[in-house]
């Protein structure tokens, strides 16, 4: 499909991440570090999962329940890891805050904390995109293209990039929701993140059906938009709250 198409697919999957990086993350070196370490952590988690599942491969290709089990176990693993990740972040936050006190600088603002969570989520999204889409993209730079029988309307690489984009969105914003949920003890936020992750994973099983990707992919984008909306609403609420809190003290 030539270099043009290859770059196109890569941009589809990771272009918005690149935009986010350039506009938000790259302004603060600490966020770049967070992004890199988060990517590493989630890549390692995916590698560990593939290691755990290796003895059971290859899965039978014409039944769907082994794949459902695979998705379920992977989501559970990653969600537990997300909680640990948050715990690690809390430790780090304490360290940063005490350091700030010592040198008489202000502590982390809400926006800083949100940005750190965003960087963490972006790391998760990028890890997903690299693992599931970019690693398969090398043949896309050659002259040939490939169509899968069960999703024959679009090239394989295009579907892969589109699905990766949806997951990047989901992972990036779920991390923000999750961090706030754990910090504030908000049960709804804490539960909704694993639910979104699991449902997104399960929706990819719809692609197993012949031409299932016509239904599966739009539904996946529905989940992604829901995540985006929920995150937006939550962030807006927090910002209004914090403004109201800090407002009287500034006067």
């Amino acid at each position: 499909m030539t270099v043009a198409a290859g770059i196109g697919y890569a941009l589809l999957a990771l272009g918005p991440s690149l935009s986010l990086f350039v506009s938000v993350i790259s302004r603060k070196p600490f966020l770049i570090l967070t992004l890199l370490s988060s990517t590493l952590v989630w890549l390692v988690s995916l590698i560990v999962l593939s290691g755990l599942w290796r003895p059971f491969l290859p899965l039978k290709a014409n039944v769907w329940w082994p794949y459902a089990l695979l998705v379920l176990s992977s989501v559970c693993f990653q969600e537990s890891l997300r909680f640990l990740f948050w715990k690690l972040y809390m430790r780090l936050e304490d360290v940063l805050d005490s350091f700030a006190d010592r040198i008489s600088r202000p502590r982390l603002f809400l926006t800083d904390k949100l940005q750190i969570a965003l960087a963490g989520g972006l790391g998760h999204g990028v890890a997903h995109a690299v693992f599931f889409c970019l690693s398969l993209l090398t043949p896309a730079f050659g002259p040939a293209t490939f169509y899968v029988d069960r999703c024959s309307k679009v090239p394989f690489f295009l579907v892969s990039a589109i699905i990766a984009l949806a997951f990047v969105t989901i992972h990036t914003f779920s991390m923000v929701i999750a961090f706030e949920g754990y910090a504030k003890g908000n049960k709804v936020d804490q539960v909704i993140v694993p639910v979104i992750h699991l449902s997104a994973g399960m929706l990819t099983l719809v692609n197993f059906a012949s031409e299932g990707c016509v239904i599966g992919v739009p539904l996946l984008y529905l989940v992604a938009s829901l995540t985006l909306l929920h995150c937006g609403k939550m962030v807006w609420q927090r910002l209004i709250e914090s403004r109201n809190q800090s407002g009287p003290t500034l006067r």
């Binding site: 196109g8 941009l11 935009s19 290859p58 050659g142 639910v195 399960m202 239904i215």
Partner: protein, 681 residues
């Protein structure tokens, strides 16, 4: 706000449930080819197609054969010949076996006139197999009178080969590939996929890697390419063996020689698919069957004449084998030690003998070079041998007197060298070839009849015994004991004319370790220095098999002691080391069996390079020799894959850039909202 959240949670839960149960009603139909790695994906994307290429050959005046037109691979969309109408860009034409002859004789020569079809041929794929119609009509890519320039008589317009189309002697500026069975099914499967999904913005292309070095270097004839080292001359190693072994050291008491000749090389439009079943392998198998029968006869050393069997190669390309053999005889070289052209009394060539069976009778025709006492003796011997069979199902007839002379055969070279040669060639045809597939890729095992070959072998074996004993009153019991082993002949036909079992059959593996399973009876190139004791890695499988086989069959057991030889050499000079390949440790046998290099008499090998000698009027055949060479190449292959139109690729790139920039603007908007929210008082 609080009310929105439970709603969101509920929606998410429903989605999860839906996604678990949604796949259930859908049937997971069909087999998925599981892709487990990126190389797996690439293998599915680029389908390698198996087949036989047509390669570039050169002679003194130009080129023949096929090649990629430039230095790069040819990539062209595949289209069936019947769907060809107004092509805009070069395409790969898929031709059925029926359409092949027509395509090359009618469509392709119109290249210079018919602009609509001219440079629109990117490459050609020929499907394998043959239809019933084709079997009736016949297809020969050779000329009407093959190698007419070597004929010893004037009538070069005589049509020995009526089904000829001469397409193999033309030059084509595009790659041509014959698909094998597996290749054909791969291509058809690939094309049918497209029909099922009717994608309008993709096309299925074939990619030919058939870049020839002579095209790259710009050397377009033999002289130039040999100088540049971009080609190698055609040739090989002929084998001769004498029954019984000749005592080389004592040059007196040499008996007159009855020379039996056959060829082992064929050719076709496609380099690697030229079994040459009827022409000439049936003759070779008959000779081997006769040798096998005669090896069981006692008392050969008491007979009046010496039998020598000679199997030549390179005969298709200017009678390289016979010319070099005769030249070596003139030079009295090591390769022909023990022989001398004055000793050769008569020559019997076994030509095409696979199609003699008709109505239960095997009929063969004896074509003689000239009328002489020696040829009369041969014809009489053939008659006696024919009558000695109780079943009376073999008939030998003299060729029609209206024939202009002998048919195209090695004897033409013998005659040109020495017009006084007394020789007879035995063929299964009279006035024109019975083989409708002369030098075609369709001249395979189904084109010959094993009983015809067995009959020819039987009659030749008895004829040779009669000639060697020089006594027409040979008792019928002596003759009757000479029996050709029919199962041996059938096994040998399967070994030399098919790919299953091919050269991995037990018969061949007993003597050599073959490098290929499929016998390619194309002569090939002469790699390395030609010598009478060549490096066995440069000698073809069939030549090595013949050398070992003939050495064993013509050997005599001096006492019952057989010694082993591990390094290919035996202690006594009259011994040779046979079967040294498969068993690692060979056996020393007393035999006179030699390799004779077969290459053009116009060529000389010196200091690692080939040079063309100037024309020599004493070498009349060298004057008309085209000096065939074959271009070198790096890789030859074919793959098919699907390509997207560049508009689609560009659309994807634009979509990627758009998504990125839209995301950027979206983030900017969100950022400004947030800063406004923070700054608001």
């Amino acid at each position: 706000m609080a009310m929105g959240l439970p709603r969101l949670v509920a929606t998410a839960f429903t989605l999860t449930l839906v996604s678990i149960f949604l796949p259930l009603p859908f049937s997971l139909a069909g087999e998925i080819t599981s892709i487990e790695s990126v190389p797996d994906l690439q293998r599915l994307m680029y389908v390698a197609v198996d087949g036989y290429p047509c390669v570039r050959l050169l002679n003194l005046s130009g080129e023949i054969g096929c090649s990629n037109p430039g230095l790069s691979k040819v990539v062209a969309p595949i289209i069936k010949l019947k769907d060809v109408k107004d092509l805009v860009q070069p395409h790969t034409v898929l031709v059925t076996p029926d359409e092949m002859e027509d395509f090359f004789t009618r469509h392709v020569p119109l290249v210079s006139n018919d602009l609509s079809f001219a440079s629109k041929i990117g490459g050609v794929l020929i499907e394998s197999g043959s239809s019933f119609q084709q079997k009736l009509k016949g297809l020969s890519p050779d000329n009407m009178f093959p190698q007419a320039e070597f004929s010893p008589y004037g009538n070069v317009e005589y049509k020995w080969n009526p089904t000829a189309s001469s397409i193999m002697w033309k030059a084509y500026n595009f790659p041509v590939y014959l698909l094998s069975e597996s290749g054909m099914s791969a291509v058809h499967e690939f094309l049918s996929k497209k029909e099922r999904k009717h994608k309008t913005y993709t096309s299925d292309v074939a990619e030919f890697s058939m870049v020839m070095e002579t095209t790259k270097a710009g050397t377009h004839n033999s002289e130039a390419c040999l100088q540049e080292g971009t080609c190698l001359p055609l040739g090989g190693y002929s084998v001769w063996s004498s029954l019984p072994p000749i005592n080389v050291s004592s040059s007196n008491n040499r008996k007159p020689i009855v020379l039996t000749v056959a060829s082992m090389d064929s050719a076709s439009f496609f380099r690697d698919k030229s079994f040459g079943a009827d022409s000439p392998i049936s003759g070779l198998v008959a000779l081997l069957g006769a040798v096998d029968a005669l090896s069981r006869v006692e008392g050969f050393s008491n007979l009046k004449k010496q039998l020598v069997f000679l199997v030549l190669t390179g005969e298709t390309w200017g009678y390289l084998g016979s010319r070099r053999f005769l030249h070596e005889l003139d030079l009295h070289s090591d390769a022909v030690a023990g022989l001398s052209d004055t000793l050769i009394e008569t020559v019997l060539e076994i030509g095409s003998v696979g199609k003699g069976l008709s109505g239960g009778i095997n009929t063969f025709f004896a074509h003689k070079t000239r009328v002489s006492s020696a040829t009369n003796k041969t014809l009489d011997a053939l008659k006696v041998a024919q009558d000695s069979f109780a079943s009376k199902n073999i008939k030998i007839l003299s060729a029609d007197k209206t024939n202009p002379g002998i048919p195209p055969s090695s004897l033409m070279a013998f005659m040109k060298k020495n017009p006084q040669t007394s020789a007879v060639v035995l063929e299964d045809f009279d006035t024109k070839f019975a083989n409708k597939f002369y030098h075609s890729h369709l001249d395979d095992l189904s084109n010959v009849n094993s009983s015809s070959v067995v009959a020819a072998a039987s009659v030749v074996a008895r004829t040779l015994y009669i000639l060697a004993s020089d006594n027409k009153d040979t008792s019928s019991s002596a003759l009757g004991s000479i029996q050709v082993n029919a199962s041996f002949v059938e096994e040998l036909l399967a070994c030399l004319l098919s790919c299953e079992p091919g050269l991995s059959c037990n018969l061949v593996k007993d003597y050599i370790s073959p490098t290929n399973t499929c016998p390619g009876n194309y002569a090939g190139v002469m790699s390395g220095e030609p010598s009478s004791n060549p490096y066995l890695g440069s000698v073809s499988d069939v030549s090595r098999f013949l050398w070992n086989f003939l050495a064993e069959k013509t050997s005599v057991q001096k006492g019952n002691t057989t010694s082993v030889c591990s390094k290919g050499s035996c202690s006594r000079t009259d011994q040779v080391c046979i079967k040294a390949e498969s068993n690692k440790e060979g056996t020393c046998v007393v035999s006179t069996t030699r390799y004779v290099p077969a290459y053009s008499t116009r060529l000389k090998y010196a200091d690692g390079a080939w040079t063309i000698l100037p024309q020599n009027t004493s070498d009349s055949m060298g004057m008309v020799d085209p000096v065939w060479t074959e271009s070198n190449w790096n890789t030859i292959g074919l793959q098919v894959y699907t390509v997207q139109h560049s508009a689609y690729d560009n659309a994807v790139l634009v979509a990627g850039i758009t998504v990125t920039t839209l995301a950027y603007f979206g983030i900017m908007v969100a950022k400004s909202f947030i800063t406004k929210a923070l700054k608001q008082d």
